[in-house]
Symmetry: D3
Amino acid sequence: MKNTVYMEEMDAFTYRDKLAQEAVMFIPVGALEQHGSHMAMCVDAALTKAMAGATAEALVADTEGAVEGVVCAPINFGYRSQQRSGGGFHLSGTTSLAGSTLISLARDICYNLIEDGARKIVFMNGHYENYQFIFEGAQLALEKARTDGISDVKIQLLSYWDFVDDATIDALYPDGFTGWDLEHAGVMETSLMLLFHPDLVDMDRIDAGVYCDLPAVLPNYDVLPVVPGYTPPSGCLSHPGESTREKGVILRDVAVRNMVTAIENEFYRPGDFHEN
Amino acid sequence: MKNTVYMEEMDAFTYRDKLAQEAVMFIPVGALEQHGSHMAMCVDAALTKAMAGATAEALVADTEGAVEGVVCAPINFGYRSQQRSGGGFHLSGTTSLAGSTLISLARDICYNLIEDGARKIVFMNGHYENYQFIFEGAQLALEKARTDGISDVKIQLLSYWDFVDDATIDALYPDGFTGWDLEHAGVMETSLMLLFHPDLVDMDRIDAGVYCDLPAVLPNYDVLPVVPGYTPPSGCLSHPGESTREKGVILRDVAVRNMVTAIENEFYRPGDFHEN
Amino acid sequence: MKNTVYMEEMDAFTYRDKLAQEAVMFIPVGALEQHGSHMAMCVDAALTKAMAGATAEALVADTEGAVEGVVCAPINFGYRSQQRSGGGFHLSGTTSLAGSTLISLARDICYNLIEDGARKIVFMNGHYENYQFIFEGAQLALEKARTDGISDVKIQLLSYWDFVDDATIDALYPDGFTGWDLEHAGVMETSLMLLFHPDLVDMDRIDAGVYCDLPAVLPNYDVLPVVPGYTPPSGCLSHPGESTREKGVILRDVAVRNMVTAIENEFYRPGDFHEN
Amino acid sequence: MKNTVYMEEMDAFTYRDKLAQEAVMFIPVGALEQHGSHMAMCVDAALTKAMAGATAEALVADTEGAVEGVVCAPINFGYRSQQRSGGGFHLSGTTSLAGSTLISLARDICYNLIEDGARKIVFMNGHYENYQFIFEGAQLALEKARTDGISDVKIQLLSYWDFVDDATIDALYPDGFTGWDLEHAGVMETSLMLLFHPDLVDMDRIDAGVYCDLPAVLPNYDVLPVVPGYTPPSGCLSHPGESTREKGVILRDVAVRNMVTAIENEFYRPGDFHEN
Amino acid sequence: MKNTVYMEEMDAFTYRDKLAQEAVMFIPVGALEQHGSHMAMCVDAALTKAMAGATAEALVADTEGAVEGVVCAPINFGYRSQQRSGGGFHLSGTTSLAGSTLISLARDICYNLIEDGARKIVFMNGHYENYQFIFEGAQLALEKARTDGISDVKIQLLSYWDFVDDATIDALYPDGFTGWDLEHAGVMETSLMLLFHPDLVDMDRIDAGVYCDLPAVLPNYDVLPVVPGYTPPSGCLSHPGESTREKGVILRDVAVRNMVTAIENEFYRPGDFHEN
Amino acid sequence: MKNTVYMEEMDAFTYRDKLAQEAVMFIPVGALEQHGSHMAMCVDAALTKAMAGATAEALVADTEGAVEGVVCAPINFGYRSQQRSGGGFHLSGTTSLAGSTLISLARDICYNLIEDGARKIVFMNGHYENYQFIFEGAQLALEKARTDGISDVKIQLLSYWDFVDDATIDALYPDGFTGWDLEHAGVMETSLMLLFHPDLVDMDRIDAGVYCDLPAVLPNYDVLPVVPGYTPPSGCLSHPGESTREKGVILRDVAVRNMVTAIENEFYRPGDFHEN
């Protein structure tokens, strides 16, 4: 079997070896959601899985193998898409978990990894709307672990885009950056898909007639039931036209590098791996 | 973008077109679970997704395109593995959802597809322990749809191995068949993995020292907490040694053919697609 | 008050005495469900209670009083009847608990017995569809007990018909046995009712005009909403015509004997009670 | 099969006939709870079932058969016993459902009867602590029925002792009545058990050494965790010594008569059955 | 900042000081509910908060500062109003929590105070229908605390009106007292509001045309759906006309004094504060 | 009784009159949470209630009475405080609801107002962490209302600080604005408290020794269990020293004006109230 950081592609004996070495466990959380006509619906799950994989590999490399990283199977369904960050859950193809379902799912998976022996866990979010529900699930898993007498677990919760620094944003969005919430199916996600899953992107399907009214101008509040007219016809919130594989490389590299630093800072003591 | 039956790899506009043609929706339900040292842990999810994909494609082919088939992203975590069918949930790498979590997950996903317009849904199970919880989730989705005034949904619930007929079993298990429950990581699953995901199988890791006491001899009851000694050291319940890609082809072909027939029988009138 | 193994009929002081002697606790789980026109609707609850009582008594006898057995009040409602094992939950008189309700009920009762001091618990199932929900409830009770620092509980989960051996099946079903799932209101249940509750059986109400299409021929999958036409008009899945009290005696005796052996094997060391 | 008002002892076809005649459905709700050393633990469930049966029969008689009555299988486990009405849930033998479990159980059973066609439902309570949870479950069942378009259901919720009138109380408790809450295992329950289940009462087990400090003097508040010292050593809250079968007859007769009147008043128009 | 017993009006540092002195924590539980046309809808929440505040202050005074008292923010929504004690939840303005919501709310708040260090907690109820759900929530909080190894918490649960003694009742209700359940918007609540919140009472809005049929005559059972005709047109269950601020003073004083005694008895040893 | 927009202070008859005029209903959602030593713990609940009241009054004024506004009792407990926006839920005095509790609470209250007849509802959030759980609760209330056939409800969800415009921010934070998440107990909240509840602020308790390390520098991720060292010793996330009542007036005025505009835009047609 191939060498891999992905738990799904790993046999259980190899997994146990890695856990015995105190591997950092990553839990990617995505969604199955419309991303316009130019990208497949798995974007949030696929990118988060890929970014977690790249981060796990970079962590191993950066520590010269002192630290193992394992990426759990992704949570591939997410919380209801909201109009201000995902176009809205009324759109066909956008699949929505109830809040309580996502909380339970995050709790169960996290708790299972703890039971397996994981003590360093990184929840990596890739669907804006998920965050609070993952946070709650992680807390419930910790509470449950504590009833088993396990109190040495640490969980880091992050969204990968928060690790793209301002300099990169300035470079990649020369016309101004409208915020990560509007990046739904925009330049960041499309560029990363061009890097990780080029067969699931088709730039030719960016139809000018549909990809209009971008970036979306949305109110500073939500409305329920969803007001369909607030969402641009493509379902994207910003225009993906300037996306390139090269931007994908830059975005991946900077985010991965910063996430590795954050993970090392949080889970290890300074200098554990590197001379300064 | 490539032509595909997989919703994850499909853009939302294409998906809506297929739903407008009354596509049959498949929801694969698997697990992330140890499968010995010779296979990756995604077996139940990967095989169910692959079998659902093959069935969707065969359905399209058999109806000469009159029927579309779409395969939803799989539920890639399953209910607690039981010793009599999966070796037990105490084994590291085996990831377990609480019953209520799996019920909610099945309910939410099924309900979302109904909201998208799906009216013909096939829940395809690939992890023995899941079945009753999927059934409950499907029923709750139907009840919820009914409160929206939607009453023309039909859901078929099946486990793919139930469509392997007796003749095939006799041919593939010349020394006798011990039942699908003991097929955990045995000849069926391994042969299908050799067909669909050969890179996730390594027959050389079938270590005779560990792959002993097979087929497992288990009591006709369950015990909680799990009695580890009841599970063979490999975590497999029957020996995968006789697995081949060819058997995988046979198993896929017969199961897919029978599932297509069952789907056509259940969702369409006789003769809808074929002269007799 | 009479001497009894039934907790319902026992006063609390006597119960505490038995628990102080480390009694094995039985929790019967049945259903309130249609069983044709020839039997009362309590069959699953009444038979499981009776079988648990007979097993408790046989356990006491077999150990010459070294082991006490107590039968908790039965869970007298069960999970939704499925067409392939109970005729379907659409049938009037068939009363269905939601999955989450049965899980909670099994959890609460089991946990209470543990709190009372029970450490050896046998969940005896008598309604095919219940099993997975009882399993989940038992596991949740164990997890709750563990948070109280109680870790010496053992729970055995079984369905009584699984303890009827092949020789008995061959003898009682000379024309072939169609499986326990189809035994709903068939020879086994009717014979046992003729033994335990003859006043709740009326063989004269086996009306040939209604008791047709038996044994039922059901697809190898489920459909929701239920397809009423799949269920025979009587609601039975196999014909009870050959039932006799004598068969009931045989079924009880063999199942009870085998259950006693399984209980002794699981909860005690070999030779604890008997010279070999 | 015998003629009966008990659904458990009725076959499904007979049940459907009775429902077709708009039978009043009774759902008895009891408990499995310690009742001192002189009575079995089923008292609350057994008495409520018996009182519901007697009321159903009296309703049929009083309307000269114009109205049918059917008694569902009892809910035989109840909410946590409280010290002020049942001695407390810390006592071994007292089995407690969580509030949410009892709510779900009452909801599911009530909803199922409505689905079966029942439109007149009487929840009869026999365990003081249950009432609010039954009320909630009944309301949830109604809400669920309403989503099915069923809006002609009426549910009456009562505790049978509330129908013992003041004159009877004065006659049966010449030394003063301390309230129904303290009647746990006292004269009312014991007298009714002597009537309905004399084999489950043993007046000789009223041990003066244990049956002291009665009637219990309890604070006008609850304390958690339970303060064991507040409960008298017998677990009874008032002394059962003056109980007789004759008092049981009086109590049954007056309560049944008044319940029949209340049911007729609530579900039918005046004069529907009787000339005035 | 002002000196206060109310946690809402206290800064966190002061609160921590009080908890370090083992303050008794009060949790008032009220409702937002119609109270006729002569009183605001906050009555149950406002009175319970005020009574808890008065009790906390009296406790401090009575112990000469040896004991601190802190009143948590009130639970200002309550369980569904029932016709026999609040006029019914069908009335507009009456806001109802589901049973499970109130249980969770009581659990979470109580558990948080325990986590903060509170070990002496008084749940003070002011809405008749709430009691059982608070009891359940308190028990769940205790169970959760126990899993953290915290076992020295004591919770007292009470309704403030239960501490008005018979002599006071006789004096204030010279024409006879109809029970606390019928006191909804009657003399007790109105008199206390005249004392604590005179600006939220308007005795001139007691309109004779609407305030009729009082005290309400209600059946000794509940009906669902609510039968609107059972509730008097004002929504009050007894007539508030004889209410005065002076009666409010008497009611407050007697109830507070008796609650202080009950709290001291329950949480402290005799003589801890006073010479006898 | 006084004239008021607050439902708590309104009698039910007046409330019904306002609803009959299609009043806009506001539901303030706050928290009970530490806010340093210089402010009371009710800040989030008290400010949101006050801002909702001011907005309701301004809406009435702006429409010259054509529109009524009513402010429901606030949800005065909130979701677990997070370190990046509230200092963390480990801090004593900070009271945390589980995610599922807040969802249920928001659902029940919102649904009740809809049942009362409200069709225009504004959820006003004042505790950063609450938002997603309120959103979920609002959606569940809508789904429940839809099962009752009610489909003309519109819910607007907002956080009041999002309506402070950039010009005001620039003017009030001349040294730069660090974001609303860090405004916990900072200039905005303190200034508004100085306006609305000056008796609950004490600027003299801003102790330089404790109010250090401000504004807090927090990582761009969360950690569980909370890392106490990340939170400044005061529990505030930015320094409140420059707060004034005048800034409170400015903040209130601009936010209220913008919220009124947003409400009118969302619920009414242009020009409904004003000539242009």
